[in-house]
């Protein structure tokens, strides 16, 4: 700070920063990317460890015996499901009651803003069934949730069977200190959303649900179960929830600890961990696992039924059984024992899970990168914006032509500047608002006039508005304030750069992955764009680095990571469906990625587009 209080030294520092601005920026960008890639390198990461004492040292014994019976229940459930053609509510109620649970049902209905073509649903009506195991001598203040979705087809029957088997077994135990809610939800996330909204009596997404009759107090943790085969080779844990929220790391640690104890193969992102971190392939494996997590988190959608719990500050994860071609199989009794162990440890909790990290990335299940390690990568990118802003500020404050009596002169020059900054700002935000509102509002009109389905109409309208935005704003300031001045674009760029810096920083704090991916593409744009660079080439670069194309690349990249590469044709279709899913996620569950992109990031990018075409 002493450095800055001294005017001479301050001037020297500023001179240095402005003179070396471009190389420093390039260096920062490079360093940021390198830092990020280094996060997956095992020696740089921390081993996971159990922070919560209540779950660490307390020994529990797992004795769940009746896996076969659970499978039989699952088969029965499947038969009834087939007979009813949906959720066998009566059968479930009867079965749960026979096990001594307090059973309640909840019906819900939701009309989607437009048909969901992936899951083929438009008007959704369903019923959730849940049974509460009341803990003996507990005053109904705390609860745990075990849920299994009732999926169409032959999926997840074993999960429901195991859930009922566990309910039966848990009921005869006396050590429960928290109520345990066994929930079978229909229409996966929509049912879960209805149940959670009803449980907390909120309505954020305009769903119709009947109020719940029974509750268990504040929910401390939840596990969602997905199991579609009688035997499994490995268990996968899914952590990414709505808006990139993650459960406390201790939940993942707990899962990992029990997998180790019981001897079940466990994976994250469907990938086993490898021990050869020092080899290239081992490192690339870790990078891929971490990149999968980054991509999933950045998408902001819930990747399992657990994802919606996180909004209510309930630590939740989805556990998914995977049956691959490996030799070694695990039977369902073992899975039941694992879940029993996890529930018993969660039952021992005295406080909510809070000891461990909430912000982390996992290159493997046994290693994690905490917020303190990954934030510098983003910081290095964000500092570029600040450096550019400093550079612009210096250029603005001391214009080379203006001499001693420049005070009045600057005021004179910048007064038209206010309008020239405000106009593009307002217009680009209006375009953003149009991008947010129009696709769902105009689907009927679009369907009437064009030979497309509702979903296609929404997606194509979104793309059309997006493209139209490119043509619209950069001419407007000329209509209002005549020829754009040199000062004008500088002021505008200064505003845009600072705006982007704030926007990305806030995003990265909430959802690091989204912030980082956006920073990777938008920061170079913000850094190099001036009206003086070659127009055509820059325009192409700018479009390629725009949010829409970032999404397109992400789709291909994600498919590559999942080892399911797609052709361009399929990729394009996938891209369209991803856009529609993103919009649906917003309307159904309150995901914030779509409004963020439409209302903030896209207008911000339009400002840079505007600067490019300033003259």
């Amino acid at each position: 700070m002493g450095l800055l209080s001294d005017p001479n030294r301050r001037r020297a520092l500023i001179n240095l920063l402005t003179r070396l601005n471009a190389p420093i920026c390039a260096l920062c960008y490079f360093a940021g990317v390198c830092w990020f890639m280094g996060l997956a390198f095992e020696p740089f990461t921390l081993r996971t460890y159990m922070s919560e004492n209540a779950m660490g040292s307390t020994m529990v014994e797992e004795r769940f015996p009746s896996g076969e019976r659970a499978l039989a229940t699952g088969k029965e459930f499947a038969a009834h499901k087939k007979k009813v053609g949906g959720m066998p509510v009566d059968w479930l109620v009867k079965t749960m009651q026979a096990q001594g649970l307090e059973v309640f049902t909840q019906s819900f209905s939701r009309t989607l803003p437009f048909p969901d073509e992936n899951k083929e649903r438009y008007i959704v009506k369903g019923t959730n069934v849940y049974g509460i195991l009341r803990a003996p001598r507990a005053p109904r203040t705390e609860a745990l949730v075990l849920s299994a979705p009732c999926s169409p087809g032959d999926n997840n029957n074993q999960a429901v069977g195991l859930l009922l088997g566990l309910a039966h077994y848990f009921r005869s135990q006396v050590f429960w200190a928290k109520d345990i809610i066994f929930l079978v939800n229909e229409h996966d996330l929509i049912g879960m959303q209805a149940w959670l909204e009803s449980y907390h009596h909120t309505n954020t997404t305009g769903m119709d649900w009947s109020p719940l009759q029974g509750r268990g107090g504040s929910i401390q943790a939840a596990l969602s179960l997905e199991l579609s085969s009688d035997v499994i080779t490995s268990l996968d844990i899914i952590l990414e929830g709505l808006n990139g929220q993650l459960p406390n790391l201790d939940l993942a640690n707990l899962f990992y600890a029990f997998c180790q104890k019981i001897g079940v193969l466990c994976t994250i992102q469907g990938r086993l961990q490898r021990n050869d971190w020092d080899s290239v392939s081992g490192y690339s494996h870790a990078v891929q696992t971490m990149m999968l997590m980054v991509m999933k988190q950045a998408s902001g959608r819930p990747w399992g039924d657990h994802g919606l719990f996180l909004r209510y500050h309930i630590e939740a994860a989805t556990i998914k059984g995977i049956n691959s071609f490996r030799q070694y199989k695990t039977d369902i009794t073992t899975v039941g024992r694992l879940l029993e162990g996890m529930f018993r440890k969660l039952n021992n909790l005295l406080e909510r899970l809070h000891q461990s990290y909430f912000f982390y990335l996992m290159p493997s299940l046994s290693h994690f990168v905490s917020i303190g390690y990954y934030m510098p990568a983003f910081g290095l990118l964000a500092v570029i914006l600040l450096l550019r802003a400093l550079d612009l500020w210096v250029q603005l404050v001391s214009p080379p032509a203006v001499a001693a009596d420049g005070v009045g002169d600057i005021a004179q020059q910048s007064s038209p500047g206010v309008l020239s900054v405000l106009t593009p700002l307002v217009i680009s935000h209006l375009t953003g608002a149009a991008l947010y509102i129009l696709p769902t509002r105009f689907q009927e009109i679009a369907v009437e006039h064009f030979p497309v389905s509702e979903t296609e109409a929404v997606v194509l309208t979104a793309i059309a508005v997006y493209t139209a935005g490119l043509a619209l704003p950069h001419n407007t300031h000329r209509l209002l304030s005549g020829e754009g001045t040199e000062q004008g674009w500088r002021v505008l760029k200064l505003v845009a750069v600072l705006y982007l810096a704030v926007l990305l920083s806030c995003t990265a704090l909430i959802n690091f992955s989204l912030g980082f991916i956006l920073a990777l593409t938008l920061v170079p744009v913000a850094a190099f764009v001036t009206p003086h660079v070659p127009k055509t080439l820059s325009a192409v670069v700018l479009v390629i680095l725009s949010p829409a194309f970032t999404l397109l690349f992400s789709v291909f990249f994600f498919q590559e990571l999942e080892e399911m590469p797609v052709s361009f044709q399929d990729g394009w279709l996938l891209y369209l469906s991803v856009i529609s899913q993103g919009i649906l996620d917003h309307y159904l569950y309150g995901s914030l990625v779509y409004p963020l992109i439409a209302l903030m990031v896209y207008p911000c990018w339009l400002l840079f587009w505007n600067i490019l075409f300033w003259k």
Binding site: M1, L4, S5, P7, Q97, A98, G100, E102, R134, P136, R137, A138, P139, R140, T141, E142, R171, S172, Q173, V174, H200, H201, T202, G214, R215, G217, S218, R311, Y312, H313, L350, E351, R352, H354, Q355
Partner: protein
């Protein structure tokens, strides 16, 4: 059917003897004269007042031999001249009764309710120093006289009573500890006495009652009326507090058992073994002290101490699929004798739902049946009288066995039940929802809702809404006392009319306060408790109630006094709430404090400096000669150098 007839004969005999005795002593003026007048008019009551000698006789009979008439006569000699110490037995100014009610619940669980009642003809208020204690526990007697307590009700409960599955309990209590006390109107500083009393009780019951302070004590204006006889009901002399967090365990049971005359050595109390009692779904123990009428005209009062213990055993947790209950299975003990000090000692088994023995089977069979009106319903009970040797049979021990025949039933629809939950998410605001269900098909009835919310939930009273059947339901009485931070809680009392067959929802928004960092509990992330709200109601009953409290009835049916014949009083407690408050990260306080202080001191200070100061290059200060020259030039009116 032989047994009731027998007892009727006994009654008649007693009436006869009694009238004889009235004739004999009618010349002497005795304090019991008015009583006798009424007795003659009503032979039924005569039997009641004669109950005491009867019981005495039975007990004596088991002790000595079969010389019934002589003994009874001796007792009669005693009664009119109580102060004469003719016999070895002291005058019976106190009496002890014990009772166990077992109700097989609809869900297959079983509910056992113990009641121990000590009535003592004494009056602490008259200022006479009471020093001789026989059955009444001295520790409590001293507390009552020292703190001028008129009524004291204390309960410790572990678990929540599941109204939907179990129906109404005989004696309701909220999870955790509850204490409410009516003081005599001679007490000048009620708050100080209350504070002292809670600390003393904390010691007596080994509980954390000393955590009761002004922040969780309220003075309900209507919900907690005295249960005993009382002249005034000025709620300034009432204090009510709950500790929802209190955990009840063996250390609370032991001092509770010590208050019994027989301890846990004999009588029903031998069943109270902690390893089984705390292996249950619900456990509640309570002590109620109140003044009651000694007799029908209520000229004098006695002090009643009721110790109750309610426990519900879980069918699923204990049985290996066998649906049967026995005393041994429940308590791991059987009964061999009554408490020798008890005037009555009985086990009641509720067999109302089981008229043809199709629900469950009871063994050993008993012929003694009794009917009582409890909770607005006429119930039939099988009675085992422990004071009679016959009950124990040849094996000299009683092990009542209930074997279920039918399967589990559905959930009940109790006439009134209530629940409560917190709505919303996030750590800034929330909403308390209280739901009250009136399941009566055609009668509406009023309920009193009492809510005591700690100060750290800042209630927005303007958001209070009461709706039933989708319409606004205006409470006819509202008593609201706002909280004061760190001083006292919110108190909200409302009289709401519940329409028939409806759900009434009371909602109120609140804001979560940010506590000072020393005010957090050691486990702040567990959350903070909000005690149960209390719904008190006069519920329309299906049968006519008996309003005569002094009449001989099973203990469990006579706790709440009834004023009207068509309705009965119940109290329903909702579940307590666990609310998360915004909590700082306490994991590394030292590091956090150091870091924060550094950032504030270094970063903020210099940055502020940098932003608010304007920097200018300073001219070197002129020399002395130049300054003098300038002064001179100024005086001359010439511009300075």
């Amino acid at each position: 059917m032989a047994a009731p007839r027998c007892s009727r004969c006994a009654c008649l005999l007693l009436v006869f003897i009694y009238s004889l005795y009235v004739v004999v002593i009618s010349e002497e003026p005795t304090p019991g004269n008015e009583q006798h007048a009424s007795v003659v008019e009503n032979p039924q009551t005569a039997a009641e007042t004669e109950k005491q000698p009867t019981e005495e006789r039975r007990w004596e009979a088991t002790q000595v031999d079969e010389t019934v008439p002589d003994d009874a006569a001796a007792n009669k000699q005693d009664l009119p001249v109580p102060d004469s110490v003719l016999t070895s037995t002291p005058p019976l100014k106190d009496e002890f009764q014990e009772e166990l009610v077992i109700r097989p619940l609809h869900s297959g669980d079983i509910y056992a309710s113990f009641q121990f009642r000590t009535v003592w003809e004494t009056d602490f208020t008259r200022g006479s120093k009471v020093s001789h204690y026989r059955l009444f526990p001295k520790s409590l007697g001293q507390v009552i006289s020292k703190f001028s307590v008129r009524e004291l009700h204390i309960s410790f409960t572990q678990g929540y009573w599941r109204t939907m599955q179990w129906g109404q309990p005989y004696l309701p209590s909220p999870p955790g500890a509850e204490l409410w006390v009516w003081f005599q109107d001679t007490v000048t500083d009620v708050d100080a006495t209350w504070k002292e009393l809670t600390n003393v009780l904390s010691g007596i019951f080994c509980a954390s009652l000393n955590f009761i302070d002004s922040t969780n004590t309220v003075e309900p204006s209507a919900s907690f009326k005295p249960l005993g006889i009382a002249n005034g009901t000025d709620h300034r002399f009432l204090r009510y507090a709950t500790l929802p967090r209190e955990i009840v365990c063996t250390e609370n049971l032991t001092p509770w058992k010590k208050l019994l005359p027989c301890g846990s050595k004999a009588g029903l109390a031998v069943l109270l073994k902690s390893e089984k009692l705390f292996h249950s779904s619900f456990h509640s123990q309570a002590v109620h002290i109140r003044p009651v009428c000694q007799d029908e005209p209520c000229k004098t009062t006695s002090l009643e101490l009721r110790q109750t213990l309610n426990v519900v055993f879980d069918l699923h947790a204990s049985g290996q699929g066998k649906r049967e209950w026995s005393l041994f299975k429940m308590f791991s003990r059987t009964l061999t004798e009554a408490c020798p000090l008890a005037s009555s000692s009985k086990i009641y088994i509720d067999v109302t739902d089981n008229p043809e023995e199709d629900q469950f089977e009871l063994s050993p069979a008993t012929h003694l049946l009794s009917q009582a009106v409890v909770l607005g319903d006429r119930r039939t009970f099988s009675v085992y009288d422990l004071t009679q040797q016959v009950t124990f049979g040849t094996v000299r021990s009683l092990n009542v066995l209930i074997r279920w025949k039918s399967t589990e039933g559905d959930m009940l629809r109790p006439l009134l039940h209530a629940e409560r939950y917190i709505a919303g998410y996030g750590l800034q605001t929330g909403e308390i929802h209280t739901l009250m269900y009136n399941n009566h098909p055609f009668r509406s009835f009023p309920v009193l809702l009492l809510d005591s919310v700690p100060w750290y939930l800042r209630l927005y009273v303007h958001t209070l809404t009461v709706t039933s059947k989708g319409k606004d339901n205006k409470p006819s009485y509202i008593h609201y006392q706002p909280s004061k931070d760190r001083m006292r809680p919110h108190l909200l009392e409302m009289l709401v009319q519940l329409p028939p067959h409806s759900v009434t929802e009371v909602t109120m928004q609140f804001e979560r306060a940010l506590l000072k960092w020393t005010e957090y509990t050691p486990d702040p992330n567990h959350g903070f408790y909000v005690g149960s709200s209390v719904v008190s109601a006069l519920v329309p009953s299906t049968v006519a109630m008996n309003t005569n409290i002094t009449k001989e009835q099973p203990l469990f049916s006579t706790f709440f006094p009834t004023k009207e014949e068509s309705s009965y009083f119940i109290r329903v407690y909702t579940e307590p709430l666990l609310v998360n408050l915004p909590t700082p990260d306490f994991s590394m306080p030292y590091n956090v404090i150091c870091l924060t202080c550094t950032v504030v001191a270094v970063g903020y200070g210099s940055l502020y400096n940098l932003l608010t100061r304007s920097f200018q290059v300073e001219e070197p200060s002129p020399g002395l000669a130049k300054r003098i020259a300038n002064v001179i030039r100024k005086m001359r009116g010439v511009p300075p150098l």
